[in-house]
Each structure stands twice: as C-alpha cells, then as structure tokens.
Amino acid sequence: MGQFLQFALNGLMSGAIYALIAVGLVSVFKATRVVNFAHGYLIMFGAYFYFTFAVLVPQAAWAPEWLQSWRPDWMVEMRADLPMFSPLAAVLDWMANLPRILLGLAGALICNALLGMLIERTLMRPLMGQSVFAMIMLTVGLISILSGTAQLIWTSDAAFVPALAPNTPIRFEMFGATIFLFGADLANMLIALAIFAGIVAMVRYTRSGVAIRATAEDQSTAYSMGISVPRVFSRAWVLASTTGAVAGAILATRNGVSPALGLFGFSVLAIVLMGGLDSYLGVFIAAMAVGVLEALTQWQLGGEWAGIVPYVAVLIVILIRPHGLLGSKEIERI
C-alpha cells in the first residue's frame, strides 16, 4: 500500500505537468479550432529561454555577481552553522539562486509570449478564413523550423538549470507507510495546478472568458457582438506560449534542456485527444490518469513499459469514445 501511494503520488506530480502543457493545446484549439502540433516545440523554446536567462546571462562577464549567486552576509553566517543535509541549508542554497530563477522565469515568459504572438501574427492570421486544415499543416511545418532554430541558437548539447523551488527531501507518514518526495517536484505540481485552475476560472467566469467561448462557438457572431476575434486568437496563442514557458522551465529542471523536450508535446497531444480537445476538465482527468498509469507501470512492469502502457490506454479510450472523455461530439477528428 505504501509503495502504491508513493508511485501514485509521483504519477499525480507528472500528471499535473502534463495538464499544464495540455492547457495550451486546449486554449488554442478552443479559440481557433487549430490543433497545434508544434506546441511541444514552443515548450522547448520556453525551456531554452529559461536556460538563457537563468544560466547563460548570469554567467556573462557583464552580469553583476549577485545575479549568479546571491549571498548576503547574514546568509553566509546562517549557512555556516548548519549541518550538511539540513532542509534549511537547502532552502538557503535555493535562495542564493533566487535572483537568476526569477530572471529566468520572467525572461522565458516574455520571450515565449513574443514568440507566440509572432507565430500567430505572421503565420496564423493570414490564413484566417481559410480551411483550418491549412493552419494545422502549418503547425506541423513549424516543428522543423522551431527545432532547427533552437539548435542553431543554443547548440544541441544538454544543459542543466536551477530548480524552481528548494529541493529538500520531504518525508511523511501516510496510512502507515513512509512517503518520500522532493520539495521541487511538489512545488512544480502546485505551480502547474494553480496555473491550470487560474485559466479554467478565467475562461468560465470572466468577460474575456466569455469572448473566448463566444469565438469558439460562432466566429462571425462573436464579431457581430463587438468581440475582436483576431485579438482573441492572439490571446489564445500568448496563453499557450506562456503556460508552455512555465512547463518548459519545469521540464528543464527535471530532465535538463535539450531539443528532445519538444517530443513531450506529442505525448501530451495524445492525452488531449483522450480528454476531448475542447474540454479543460476532460483533459485534466486524462493528464492525471496518464501520469498515474505511467508511474504505476514503472513500478509493476519496469521503466521500459512506462512509455507504452499509458498510451495503449489512451488508444482504447479513443476507440470507445472518439471525441474523448468529455469532448464535444460535433468536433471533427484529425
């Protein structure tokens, strides 16, 4: 039982990150009916931007020293008295990194937002009113452009970045078993869940959310309500690219930055299809289910099965419910 809980929790933590990635796919689809095949590569760019601003910029000769490692006197004093593996020491070490983590996140958010806007403005907007299929094919082409550009700018070597939260081990008792977690993983999950919840609340309860749903349901009528449909489109892309930037930063702290991060987009695409392309709730359930299934498979069958079993489950769900768990029925399949 303890083992089961441990793996289920691990699964929920990776599920939350899948959900954070999925939110970008669903937002773009809801507003524009475009399935963004290149979403994983937007995430990869987010990861690289985080790497640039959290690692490369602080290392530069012109950067102030506190940016690389912020150690005021009180922190050095406090640190000196602490034993080797104390949690407080880990927190202090993290605080030393805090300036560059914040710079990294800010840089990733801003640059990715600009990238999302650029893609929408130059590639998607001219195709407005044409068939959606053309736009979808364009996102497929975008994959090669984005991954090629990333390799040109940053080379394809893997690199490591500072974690978003102090990585203290957390141990606690639950149902008579000891559960062991890393602080950074838990923080990543909370960040992902908070962003997901925030976006769902925005779509459901705000005026901007009404504009997005109106555009999703009937573009030309949305226009005749005074809603600027092009602006809704560009907001959806910015939403996708900024959530993608956070997801990219999180993935980079877990797996390091490399062009392979782009591939995450495809596994999440499967999750989104399972949940229903236009349903935040369905996609959330699917992301969590796949995360937990992956962890449990790893536990019972070993790591080599973990990449297969969850997606077989996705296939079965899609065979039974072609429009996904909670997707609208009239949506065309791709």
């Binding site: 005026r207 009937d218 226009y223 005749s224 005074g226 809603i227």
Partner: protein
C-alpha cells in the same frame, strides 16, 4: 445614417449577389427591406456590417457609409463599437452559454465607449429572460431565443440595428410581440432600424419606409402608406390578389412580374 450606394457584391469572385444596389436609412426611422428568397437581402445586411469577407464575399463596386464615414476596411467588431449592430438571421445565439453570458458577450460592443452594460433594461423588456438568466441558452424556446438576440442588441446600445428576419419560424403571437418590441426600441430608445422581412404585412405594420428588392437590386421604394396601396405589392407581397381570376390574368401576371425582373 446608413447610405448604401450602388454596391456590387460577389461571392468567391464568381457568383454575383448584388447588382448596383442603393438604399438610404434616415436617422430615427424604421426602414423595411422586402424581397423573395435569394433576392440578396441578407447579403445587403452583411455588406453593411462588413461580415462578407468571412464568407468569401467582397464588395466590388460602390460604397457604404455609416454616419458619413466609409466602412470599407473597418473591422466588423469596430463597426459594432461605432454603433451598428447586426441581429443575424436565425438568431445565432451562443447555445452553450447561459442567457446572462450571451448578454455579457454583447457588452464587448461597449468597449472604449465609457458606457456600462445595462442588463436589467433587457430583463425589464423581456421578463421571461430574467427567469432564465442562469439557464443554458440552447434550451430556450424559439421566441425566447429571438428575445435574447434582441437583448444582445439592446446591451450593445447601437444607434442602428440591422435586423434579419426576426419573424422567422415563430408563432404569429410571438411575431406580434417581437414587432411590438421593434416599435418600442424605435420610439422609446430612438434606435434606427433596417428591417429585412419576407412577411411584408408585419413589416409594413412597423416600418415608415420600404424598399423592395429582386435579383440583387431595388425595384421599388416608397412610404409604407403608398406601397400598401400599390397593386403589385398587394398581389405579390401582401397576398391580396386583384380580384376576378381569368385565364388572361395569368398573362398579365407574367408580364408584370417580367417588368420587375428586368
């Protein structure tokens, strides 16, 4: 207020829908635009609200002015914020959203105009909507959906409403209520209305002036009082016939119709 001057409209650069159509809507009036199926009434409204490009339509010649300014190249949403609201054919409410959210969607028309949306005014006009404000709009009856479509127009506080077949698919009693609202909107709120209808009798009951169009152009116009007594209008649009039917009448009928189509 709205001046359409000699416009020609093509769809897909191939199908000509309007052939040199002109009409004027003066401020504070209700103007009816009558015509049979496929005459181009809806196209005329779409041209005026700049929705044509969304359906691969384009204005090739002529121009449309709203409040004196040419609308060419103006985004449809900008035109709505300038005070021209188009109530589309078939009502086109957002079926997956609640009644209130449908009204909130229309409040985008007030952006940058410094006006607060007045939802209570809509509920005052249409009490059935107030009872259902949290219900999903797709489950409303046809009449209630038409009320909601009107409600959205009221939230947007337009100066000109283009109204496309508000009587479509509604019971006669509901049609009466809807047209009473049109009259009220015009007399109490001072909203100018361009009304497209197939049901000429109902349209004449509210309109001051009317245009009749066939095959993409205007074939007749005049004050409603005058048109109502016109024999052609009586026989083709009001269904009154012209008494005494004989075999010769069919020939006359054909000739008269031919004159309209030329």
């Amino acid at each position: 207020m709205l001046a359409i001057e000699n416009i020609e409209v093509n769809y897909h650069r191939a199908v000509q829908a309007l052939r040199g159509l002109s009409l004027q809507v003066a401020e504070g009036r209700i103007v009816a635009l009558l015509g049979t199926n496929g005459a181009g009434k809806t196209t005329t409204l779409k041209a005026a609200s700049n929705l044509l490009p969304l359906e691969h339509g384009a204005i090739n010649a002529g121009r449309i002015r709203f409040d004196g300014a040419d609308i060419r190249g103006e985004a449809p949403d900008a035109l709505v914020r300038r005070g021209l609201f188009h109530v589309r054919e078939g009502r086109r409410i957002f079926t997956e959203m609640t009644v209130e959210e449908n009204l909130i969607a229309a409040s985008w028309a007030l952006d940058g105009r410094g006006v607060k949306p007045d939802y209570d005014k809509v509920y005052g006009f249409f009490p059935p909507l107030a009872d259902r404000r949290r219900q999903v709009a797709g489950y409303l009856s046809g009449g209630e959906q038409q009320m909601l479509a009107f409600g959205r127009a009221m939230v947007a506080e337009p100066r000109l409403i283009l109204m496309d077949e508000p009587s479509l698919g509604l019971a006669p009693k509901v049609v009466e209520e809807i047209f009473a609202t049109i009259r009220r909107l015009n007399s109490e709120e001072g909203v100018t209305i361009l009304l497209v209808e197939q049901n000429a009798a109902v349209a004449f009951s509210v309109a001051h002036y009317a245009y009749v169009m066939e095959h993409g152009r205007i074939v007749m116009e005049g004050d409603v009082a005058k048109l109502r007594n016109d024999p052609d209008i009586q026989s083709f649009y009001l269904g009154l016939g012209d008494g005494g039917s004989s075999s010769f009448r069919d020939v006359k009928h054909y000739k008269r119709r031919k004159r309209w189509l030329s």
